[in-house]
Amino acid sequence: MTDQELLIKIRGLKIEGRSEDTWNEIVHGVDLDLHRGEVMGLIGESGAGKSTIGLAAMGFTRDGCRISDGTIEFDGIDLRNASAGVKRGLLGKRIAYVAQSAAASFNPAHRLIDQHTEAPMIHGVSSTKESQEDAMALYERLRLPDPENIGFRYPHQVSGGQLQRAMTAMAMSCRPDLIIFDEPTTALDVTTQIEVLAAIRDIVEQFNTAAIYITHDLAVVAQMADTIKVLLKGDEVEAADTRTMLSAPKEDYTKSLWAVRSFSPPPKPPVPSGETPVISVNNVSAAYGVVPVLFDVNFNIYRGRTVAVVGESGSGKSTTARCITGLLPPTKGQILADGEPLPANYRKRNREQLRQAQMIYQMADTALNPKVRISEIIGRPVQFYTGLTGNDRRKRVEALLEQIELDPADYYNRLPTELSGGQKQRIGIARALAAEPKFIICDEVTSALDQLVAEGILKLLDKLQRDLDLAYMFITHDLATVRSIADEVVVMKQGKVVEQGEKEQMFQPPHHPYTDLLLSSVPEMDPDWLTNLLKERGVENLGDAAAARI
């Protein structure tokens, strides 16, 4: 390819981030070439600098970051030295951005279509009326329901997957040359993700838009990108076209990323017949106010075993957990612990009943009090549930830290802010273990973590289960996780259990149609996976009827 087709040319890009009063380099001299119509995948774990580089390609840095060296050219324009006015003229018009969380990135005070028409209006590309009509055509093309009217809703009235498509439509409003997609499907359910991926890929091809697609999910990037660049801690590891990268990665780090999904512990012996389940959910129904959200949920969890509860957001997974812990008293049915009914409300449970069931949360960041030291975070439940004080308590906390594979000498006095995401989640686990429970609810404990870190957590949970004979209820939407650690699977949809059974059965056909939909929606590494899947589902020519109108 010649230089004329080069849309983005980045050379030796260095970016610094401020922490307190010092500037630390977070991107160490990255080169990036993007041609017209090319889709490049930027992948890496958190802290790799993906988003920072993606934004820098727009000539933008977040507060607390600055570009310290290198050049950024967009279509021959030097973005690093361009005036704010020149950059504003490009942003939204020739370079557009699709953010990770559409729910947070749409302004809650304005209707979707008013936000859509803003860029064409301020850039003088088209009149408000023209761009409204164009918005409707784009909404139809992106297969949004009721394209004529959906734009007149406020963001909170539209679902997450729909918002993400509306945001892609908004990025397209001025027909830009380049779109930066910053983890656009990370916050979505697998079934919704497919629709959004298909919509994005389709529209990017249709308008021959170049794109930088930022994600940590390899299988997703395999579907979307022509070329892949792997980043690690602000450095490029390697870059190649997608198929080469997938079939023959050169670097060890890339290979390790590819291999992550392979954790599979040895199977456990079957439950002896006649054993009383540790926790038994009996015909439980629940409601938020007058809105019923759970309907006759039934399942048992046995000692030393893991029940994975899967389903999309809104399926009632976390609500079931709230019923078990007594945070949400069921309207009908009972929770049994070791065969004995538990009081519905946690306030009426005694300390022994409370001790038996503990919880680990999804966001370790917000689940730990940032002002309290580790010794206290773990020490408090130790004292509360076991009555240990003074030196005994300290020894117990240190033993717990060793159990979660953190060195007590180093971590005992740290604050949560001095830990990485995976370490915080380990502290969350230690806090649950401090009560010496029989049963732990793990609510999406790995979904906020990078794959390598998540795997470490899964291994730890598995080891603890075998050592301590713990029962887990593992709430997740990630079927790869289920495949590796579950013994039994409960599939939920809209507050009902649609299918449940041993893992081996569940992953073998025939499935319940919904389980099938979930399973088939998990992206695979094969770059043709999405194309084949769409063909199978008969939506190969996504929105062709709408295409004619644009």
């Binding site: 939204g92 302004n107 809650p108 005070a109 301020i122 406020y154 909170h156 009235q157």
Partner: protein
């Protein structure tokens, strides 16, 4: 709507509690009207005679319920001091206070919003710092001091406005406005700082939001980002602070009224406390309490109206 009804009912309860507290507080004041009015010549017989005439010899509980019973029918009783009805005395004074508050609000609210938005737009600039310092200085100085400074500059050195605000109902609007200007400006200086700083803080608070970043990445100019993308989402706290300050304009103006000899409720209130003219004191207090409650209710309703999540449920 049911929310508004609930707030109104709560407001009524608050008013009732306030009336109890006022009555109790006035009871605790040393001396009563009879002793105060007779002064040195308070012989026990004369005091008893006046007490009997005004019904002060009855127990506090009977007096309270008597007063409450007629108050809910709109009859606030008769002033002890001059035997005119409380409503008749209070109405023109309250009108004057409202007029002053209105003039002050018409200047202060737009001024505070504009300075607040500009300070958020040019945050940490010279303009931001000067605006912050000026408004902080004016809010930190005692009101009478601000008032005398204004008199010095705008009445004595450059006679723009009259320094005495002796207004009456027979004056035409412009003369009234002219005479109200100095107290209104004083109040403006006192309340602007609070509202302006809240506007600035509420907007800056939102500037880290993803949707603000999105607006910037759409090429929206900084001014438009603030006014169109941040301000509509910052309205609720701003409205609440405005409501509190408007209430202050009505209930907290005693000092300013005294300095400018402005015939408002505040002056009447102070005079009545001095002579233990209980019916007037109670009526004034109720008006003040009702003002607070009504303005806060208005603020709540406005916050709901400006929030699309509450206005357009799913």
């Amino acid at each position: 709507m049911s929310l508004v009804a609930k707030r109104l009912a709560l407001g009524a309860v608050t008013l009732f509690v306030v009336s109890l507290i006022i009555f109790g507080a006035v009871e605790l004041l040393p001396g009563d009207f009879a002793e105060e009015i007779l002064g040195q010549g308070a012989t026990p017989e004369a005091v008893a005679a006046i007490r009997q005439e005004l019904g002060l010899d009855r127990t506090p509980v009977t007096r309270y319920f008597d007063w409450l019973g007629s108050a809910v029918q709109g009859d606030f009783g008769v002033s002890f001091g001059n035997q005119r009805s409380v409503a008749e005395q209070l109405a023109p004074r309250f009108g004057n206070t409202l007029f002053l508050a209105l003039v002050a609000a018409c200047i202060a609210v737009p001024l505070a919003l504009v300075i607040g938005v500009l300070a958020a737009l040019y945050r940490n600039s010279i303009f931001d710092k000067v605006a912050n310092m000026t408004t902080l200085t004016s809010i930190s100085s005692p009101e009478f001091f601000v008032a005398y400074i204004l008199i010095l500059f705008l009445a004595v050195m450059n006679p723009v406005f009259p320094s005495l605000s002796n207004i009456s109902s027979d004056l035409d609007f412009w003369t009234r406005l002219d005479r109200t200007m100095l107290p209104a400006l004083t109040l403006t200086l006192v309340v602007t700082a609070h509202m302006m700083r809240m506007t600035r803080a509420a907007i800056i608070n939102l500037l880290a939001s993803p949707y603000i970043e999105m607006a910037r990445l759409k090429g929206v100019s900084p001014a438009r980002v603030i006014v169109r993308h941040a301000l509509p989402n910052a309205l609720a706290p701003i409205i609440n602070v405005i409501a509190l300050n408007l209430a202050y304009l009505i209930t907290g103006v005693v000092v300013v009224e005294v300095v400018f000899v402005y015939p408002g409720v505040g002056q009447l209130f102070v005079d009545s406390v001095k002579i233990r003219d209980i019916p007037i004191v109670q009526a004034c207090c109720l008006i003040f309490a009702a003002t607070y409650i009504l303005l806060n209710l208005t603020a709540d309703v406005l916050s709901i109206i400006t929030n699309p999540r509450l206005r357009h449920p799913k």
